[in-house]
Every structure is written in C-alpha cells, then in structure tokens.
C-alpha cells in the first residue's frame, strides 16, 4: 500500500467519509506536533549554534515539529 493508492481511494469515498479522513489527518498531524517546551529548546540550540549547517538542520526540525510533519 502506498500513500498514492490511499489518496486515490479517499477520492472515491462519499463526502461524509472524506470528512472523517480529513479529521483523522488533522488529528494525526496534531499528535505529531512537538510541545512548546521542546520547540523552545530546539530554538535555543539553533540560536547558540556556531555551525550554520547544524543551525539549518535545527530550523528544519523546528518546522517539522511545529506543523507535525
């Protein structure tokens, strides 16, 4: 099973069933979001880093954690 095949199946669902999928996706993303404390910690490490590459990696991690990606 791939994401593409799941998405194709979702497209075939009735609207009400699609709404359940949408709610589930939002909930799933929310569960994957980092806490504010963790994000603050990462932001602090990003600010304190002297290594631009590490700072960039931390910035990307903050983005993923903020949005739950």
């Amino acid at each position: 099973m791939t994401a593409s095949s799941v998405i194709e199946e979702i497209k075939q669902l009735p609207r009400a069933e699609q709404s359940r999928v949408i709610r589930f996706a939002f909930e799933l993303a929310r569960e994957r979001q980092m806490s504010g404390e963790k994000l603050s910690d990462l932001a602090q490490r990003m600010r304190d880093s002297d290594d631009p590459a590490e700072a960039q990696k931390l910035r990307e991690e903050i983005h993923r954690g903020f949005y739950g990606e």
Partner: protein, 149 residues
C-alpha cells in the same frame, strides 16, 4: 468565532520568528509559548484580534493567514514588527526600516530606498495596521520618539 491552528501560521512567519530568535531580538521561549497556545486551537474573533505574550504580541484577522507578530525589544523600548501578506514594518527608537514583498510566499526584501512610511505606495495597508496597533497598544506609540515624517 473562528478557530486557529498551528497550520494557520505561514511558514514564512515562523521563519521570520526564528530569524529574530537567532538575532536575539526575541527569546526562544516565546516561540514555545506561541506553539503551546496554537496547539489549543484557540477561538478568535472574526475580526482583528491579538494575543499578548510576555515579550511578543501576535495579531491576526479571523482564522485567515493574516497573522502578524509584534514585540518589544530586549531593552523594552518598543521595537515592533508588523506583518501582513504584503509587507512588514520594523522600527526602533534609533531607526526605521521598511520591508516589502509581493506576497507572503515570496522572501521579504529590504527596500532601502524607502526612508519613511509615507514614501512607498505599499504602505496604505500597513498604515491602517499601524493605526490598529495604536489601538491595541495605546501606551506604546508606534512612531518612535524623534522620528521625522
């Protein structure tokens, strides 16, 4: 009432906040406070709203992606950033910068030719927003002391 979520915060604004953290204009914990607040998916008015944090204020309009950030600088002297889909303004007691962009999806660039808020045609929206900020922060005049229009 509308409900806002973390996904309602434009990635460009998150980047902008991280830039400000990197340059030590705001502390890292402000980002955490904002994230925790958005995690609760708070209800906001349909019109303009604002949420004060200890060293930063976030302003927005309804649930749309018109979210702005403003904050006081580390010396507490009223440096602020306003942000919308078209441009942002920053000013301090010692200087004033105008930043503009065609849309929120574009990187913001400094408009070095604009020396005050009335010299750029893009400023009408920001001027209205400044007036809104005046209403939101009556004790903090948005125009720096000594700034000549």
């Amino acid at each position: 009432m509308a409900r806002i979520r973390r996904h309602g915060l434009p990635p460009q604004l998150l980047d902008h906040l991280l830039d400000r953290v990197s340059s030590r204009q705001i502390s890292a914990d402000q980002l955490g406070l904002l994230a925790d607040w958005l995690y609760t998916e708070p209800e906001v008015p349909e019109g303009k709203w604002f949420k004060k944090f200890p060293a930063m204020t976030v302003c927005g309009e309804g649930e749309h992606q018109n979210i702005f950030a403003a904050w006081t600088n580390r010396h507490g002297r009223g440096a602020k950033i306003a942000w919308n889909n078209q441009l942002g303004l920053s000013w301090t007691n010692s200087g004033f910068n105008l930043w503009s962009a065609a849309a929120v999806t574009c990187p913001f660039t400094k408009n070095s030719a604009a020396t005050n808020r009335y010299t750029n045609s893009l400023t009408s929206d920001s001027l209205r927003f400044e007036q809104d900020l005046c209403a939101l922060f009556p004790g903090q005049p948005p125009i720096p002391q000594g700034f000549e229009d």
